[in-house]
Amino acid sequence: MSTPDLEARSLVKRFGAYTAVDTLSFSVARGSFFSILGPSGCGKTTLLRMIAGFIAPDEGDILIGGNSMADVAPNRRPVNMVFQQLALFPMMSVGENVAFGLARRGVARAERVKKSAEMLERVGLGGAGHKAVDELSGGQRQRVAIARSLVLEPTLLLLDEPLGALDLKLREHMKIELKQLQAAFGTTFVYITHDQSEALVLSDHVGVMNKGRFEQLGTPQELYYSPATPFVAGFVGSNNKIAGRAKSVQGGIVELESAEGWSIHAQAHGAIAAGAAVEAFVRPEVASLGRTSSELPAGHPQYAATVESLLFDGANSAVLVREQKSRFEFRIALPQTGRFADLKVGEALQFGFDPARAVCFPVAGSPSA
């Protein structure tokens, strides 16, 4: 395997008593799109700023293209960053913004003008070089910010939640555009975000970060279908969380009884002994819905429920139901067949799910964990 473009070795950063980044090690392969996903305050911005060189790590080392970045100043690193608020220079035209880095490298004026015009062409802003920054729309500014960095042909492009400031529609559009840009340029992207949908759509690999550590590092599919920790299961995608005690464990399937008295089955992840405190997660699309029990796939436990509320959202429509005995609230994705288009609040239903597709974790700190 070739040298990874980015490698972090036991990286630690503390602010006083608070550890922002806690012994983190990972590597990012050349040409891939790597996302760091986590809630605000998880240390992802600190990590990114360490890679860019604005903060020095307390321990560990960062290697970019195989070279240690200890004692290398930000303006000497083969890394460029797209800032959260983009940070385009308002005192310069669009073309001057793109040519700024080239000028600092001492590239001749004619060459600079040519290269920045080419780069603007490549991001679909041909001929916009003379414009002022504030004449551009949000999406266009985004592209200028990326062009300004990519024109320097960095080993690594860092993106600090660059879509955060855009409205929803534009954000969806820019997601696709970013992915296409990354594929076209082949530059390694390191992207940080708290939006799981951005991370899933864009990335080849995602590191889910929490309290300064990676909870899980894997492909979006792995994170979604086989979360390694309860945090990942809860943070990535929507999930029904059922907390309770393990009544019995048989062949990797845990029988869980929730505090409300609802009993379900789920696949055990990690060592779980009978009686231990556990948490199970069931994805809304894993559960199937039927008006009678015969409509449900055979062989899985079934539960009676009533419709609590309907959450219509086009293709992402779901229904909230209450399990009859325990009154537990459970979210189920509505199938796209239109079979449940006439569902009413208060209607009685049957639902069930494959225990093998539900995951169950021991609760951290419980005696059997």
Binding site: A52, F54, P74, N75, R76, V79, N80, M81, F83, Q84, Q85, A87, L88, F89, P90, M91, M92, F100, G101, R104, R105, R148, S149, L152
Partner: protein
């Protein structure tokens, strides 16, 4: 129709009343005295209580080398003082606006402000106590063995400059802090990230952003310095050769109001044209600059 008209009239009347103090102040204390001075400067006394219109006062200014030498010297010294003030104020403003947070930042600001709690006369006399031959600094120099005998530190051009810079510092720091505070730190980081050195960040990002503040500070300091009377006179003594001193002499000592008025107008012309040249050179607009200051 009528009612709308009446209401508009009322609105205008209110606006007029609000503006009245400012207008009164402008007309009675600035415009009228200047008109009077202008008339004074363009006349010549031919006999007791007998005057005629003439350009004699202005002719004297150009004919007498002493006058225009002092005039040019005042302009140059003021320009140097302004530049020095800018160079000293910039790091202070940068520290207040960008490096310090909260209490420490306000504290440094207050330190810059404290000298202004004392009147200018007392402040300048303080400098005299420090710098005169029998003063604190010369005797300290002797004790340290740097000089054999106490030397006179007053009445030098450099002393005048020190005093002027000290007096003007706050008026440069305030607009600079304002314009530096509005500079987004991400822009500095972005420039640095794109390979800029500290010097090119300053030249390409910080100074262009702070230009209105820099210009505003320079205009205020230059005008204050040019029109300063106390500091050059006290710290420079007879050698100060400041133009305001010449105006004072004409009005008070020689009782030649006509000549004094002409000098006053020349000084006004000088400061106005220097400001205009400064704005043109830096490509700034007056309105924008004054809004920032």
């Amino acid at each position: 129709m009528l009612e709308a008209g009446t209401r508009r009239w009322q609105a205008r009347l209110m606006l007029g009343l609000f503006l009245m103090p400012a207008v009164l102040w402008l007309v009675s204390l600035i415009i009228l005295p200047h008109l009077d001075l202008a008339i004074l400067s363009f006349r010549e006394r031919v006999a007791p209580r007998e005057y005629r219109a003439s350009l004699e006062q202005y002719r004297t200014f150009f004919a007498e080398p002493l006058y225009w030498h002092i005039f040019v010297r005042t302009a140059l010294m003021s320009a140097i003082a302004t530049l020095l003030t800018l160079l000293i104020a910039f790091p202070i403003a940068w520290t207040i606006a960008k490096l310090l947070r909260g209490r420490a930042s306000s504290l440094l600001f207050v330190v810059c402000l404290i000298p202004f709690w004392v009147s200018e006369t007392v402040r300048t006399l303080g400098w005299m106590i420090l710098l005169r031959e029998s003063g604190v600094l010369p005797s300290l120099l002797v004790k340290l063995g740097i000089t054999d005998v106490p030397i006179e530190l007053l009445y030098r051009d450099s002393t005048i400059l020190v005093g002027l810079v000290y007096t003007s510092l706050l008026f440069m720091v305030v607009p600079l802090v304002g314009s530096l505070e509005s500079l987004d730190n991400a822009l500095i980081e972005a420039a640095y990230d794109l390979g800029a050195s500290g010097w090119s960040v300053l030249r390409k990002i910080v100074i262009p952003h702070a230009a209105p503040g820099i210009t505003a500070g320079c205009i205020v300091v230059f005008m204050m310095t040019l029109g300063n009377y106390l500091t050059p006179t006290l710290l420079g003594g007879k050698n100060s050769q400041w133009f305001t001193e010449q105006i004072y002499t004409q009005f008070i000592t020689r009782f030649n109001w006509e000549q004094g008025a002409a000098f006053g107008f020349l000084l006004l012309l000088l400061s106005t044209s220097m400001v205009w040249v400064g704005l043109r050179l830096t490509g700034q607009r007056f309105g924008e600059v004054m809004r920032r200051s």
